[in-house]
């Protein structure tokens, strides 16, 4: 026995197995992120959803009323992965830039108070530096651990001197999304294998 979810796709209501629903949702989310920069992304997505709904309806009969994960895999294969669909030459360049290696932690000399460690950490995680500073001060007062960590980071982290390094320090906005997504994907696969 499996739990099914009811979902509206292109104006049609489908009964979908829970695992199939998760897969489908991930696919659509991926597409959405892929077309995020496109002018009419919502229109493209709704057109694709309409087509999906058409393909799913062809799979249903009076004996088979629920969309399974195999159906979802088949239909998404017909429609293609976001990478297959995308035809921008620019996207390859963006992918290159968004590899995790391009987002590194530096000390930020432009916003430093002592050595730029907190400013650099803040820039890397996109957190206000003063929040990091408060944490460090609190750790320093509670036994001096903050001072030790600060010193280690000061030695380990290079200073962002060139423009390229400063860009790497902040990372690209698209980049963060990609990293989040890949982390999420990894998490999902890990979760799946654990279940099995």
């Amino acid at each position: 026995m499996k739990i099914t979810v009811s979902a509206n796709l292109g104006g049609y209501s489908f009964n979908i197995d829970e695992d199939a629903y998760t897969e489908l949702k991930r696919y659509l989310k991926n597409l959405e992120m892929h077309f995020a920069e496109e002018e009419s992304s919502s229109e493209i997505l709704s057109d694709i959803e309409t087509r999906m709904s058409e393909l799913f309806r062809q799979k249903l009969t009076s004996y088979k009323q629920v969309i399974t994960i195999e159906d979802v895999r088949e239909v998404t294969a017909i429609l293609g992965s976001p990478e297959d669909i995308s035809d921008n030459e620019g996207s390859t360049a963006r992918q290159k830039f968004s590899s995790p290696g391009y987002h590194r932690m530096y000390r930020d000399p432009d916003h430093r108070i002592i050595g730029g460690v907190c400013a650099g950490v803040g820039a890397y995680w996109r957190i206000e530096p003063w929040i990091i500073r408060i944490i460090f001060v609190a750790l320093a007062m509670a036994g001096g651990l903050g001072i030790l960590i600060y010193l280690i980071l000061y030695i380990v982290l290079p200073e962002a001197r060139t423009t390229a390094q400063k860009i790497e320090m902040k990372g690209d906005p698209v980049n963060i999304h990609n990293i989040k997504e890949s982390v999420k994907r990894e998490f999902d696969t890990v979760r799946k294998t654990m279940k099995l």
Binding site: G11, L31, E39, D47, R51, R57, L79, G80, S81
Partner: protein, 113 residues
């Protein structure tokens, strides 16, 4: 060099042209276009079509109207605008030129004389 990639690049180049050609014969909705493109083997994954259609519509080459369908929700029927017809004519010409050029190159100069 990756053969599949080179082939895909070739197909990509003519896909936009093929879409306009299909629509120029009859106003049609996305699944009709897909069917024709698939039969002609110029498209591999269906999803490629939708961003192209929307871009062509946004740049004024296509327009669409909603039409009731006997089965399922209303469908978007695409047709060429005047600008789209002009555009297609240009592409027709350059396609002819391209065929001649490739033909010339493949056969070598002597055989054409």
């Amino acid at each position: 060099m990756d053969l599949e990639n080179t082939k895909a690049q070739m197909r990509k180049g003519i896909l936009e042209y093929c879409i306009l050609s299909v629509i120029s014969r009859n106003s049609c909705y996305a699944s009709d276009i897909i069917k024709e493109l698939k039969e002609a083997k110029v498209i591999v994954v269906e999803g490629t079509l939708y961003p192209l259609l929307t871009r062509q519509k946004n740049s004024g080459l296509l327009s669409y109207r909603w039409e009731e369908s006997p089965q399922g929700p209303p469908r978007k029927y695409y047709e060429l605008t005047d600008a789209g017809r002009e555009y297609l004519k240009e592409l027709d010409n350059s396609w002819e030129e391209l065929i001649d050029s490739v033909h010339l190159i493949r056969k070598g100069k002597q055989s054409t004389i």
